[in-house]
Amino acid sequence: MEKTNEAGAIEFQRACAPAERPASNDVDDAQLMLDYARGNAHAFDLLYARHKAPLYRYLLRHCRDRALADDVFQDVWGRVIRYRKSYQPRAKFATFLYRIAHNSVIDQFRTSARRHSDQVESVDDNQDFLQAPDTQRPDFQLAGEQFRAAFQTALDALPDEQRAVFSLYEESGLSLEEIGQITDVGAETAKSRLRYAVNKLRKALGSADAFFTHESNSAATRRVKHEE
């Protein structure tokens, strides 16, 4: 069962590869940033297109408030634009970007009174995932909504530091060491925070595991039939 689930999970990932998580070429990212600093606006457009969605999702997960996430999103890119002249490719561009993002969120938390607001506009109202072609089936929609609600509740219940590390790991594609640098902790501390987050999420989503396990198996079945 476990092997089936794992194989199904892999097939599920292949079949449902998210379109907005392009692989980031670190060398190209740094070169694009340098090109933009030299006056190439198109280089910025490419850089922005690569990183806008993962960064936006990270901010939504971390801020838990769409309006705040929008403000921080603009602030982050504003800083990237402002720092273009002093940018040096000592580390990955993603490390540079998410470091700015993390610090911006911290600054916003210190000044914003809406940090623990119950008026979260972000996740509960977001129905994007239901627009995919294979998700129009009623049973999937119901299961998906339940899973999403459960996931969001579990994510919101995490302490800020654990939620930040989990969101960074999911969206940025960075290593634990790099995430540690961004959050000013060592790699082991980042790993520990991630372990706690994963453990809590798995416990909270225990029954909901069946949702994507079923889907992974279905996706694998559909793929096999297609190949035949």
């Binding site: 990932q13 977001n126 899973f147 996931f151 991630l194 994507f212």
Partner: protein, 158 residues
Amino acid sequence: MSDLEDRELEDYLHRKSALSLGYKRIYVEAPPAELDRAVTARARRALRFLGPALIAAGIAIGIVLVLNTGIGRIMGALVMAERQQKEAAEREPITVTIVEPIVPPRQTSASPTAEMSREQWLAKIKSLRASGNAEAANIEQAKFNKAYPAEQPVLPSE
């Protein structure tokens, strides 16, 4: 933490766990179009002043270079002139010693002819005195004294 939790974490770190897949499945948001427009417009605005700023910077640098070059040349010339002046002042003064030319004895009209030397002239004077012609002897003596001033003047006899 149990071994199971460690394995679950390792599974998760490989980004193939059901938890990670489920997350990617349900969270697919993207920034709204108005945010995209705001950010990209801001990126372009930041470059808008780049051209004129570069031109202004180039002009300023050019003026500075020209001024530095011109001033440099002038200052260089002034420094050189001052240095030369100092060197000239520090040189030892050249003393000019005027040496009177060696003038041979003046050949006056009273001096004897080239044929009569000094000894002959003295002999003549002595002869005149011996012959009792004191007046002529005194005249010749005066001429001799004038011609040879360095000589011990011989006073005319009485």
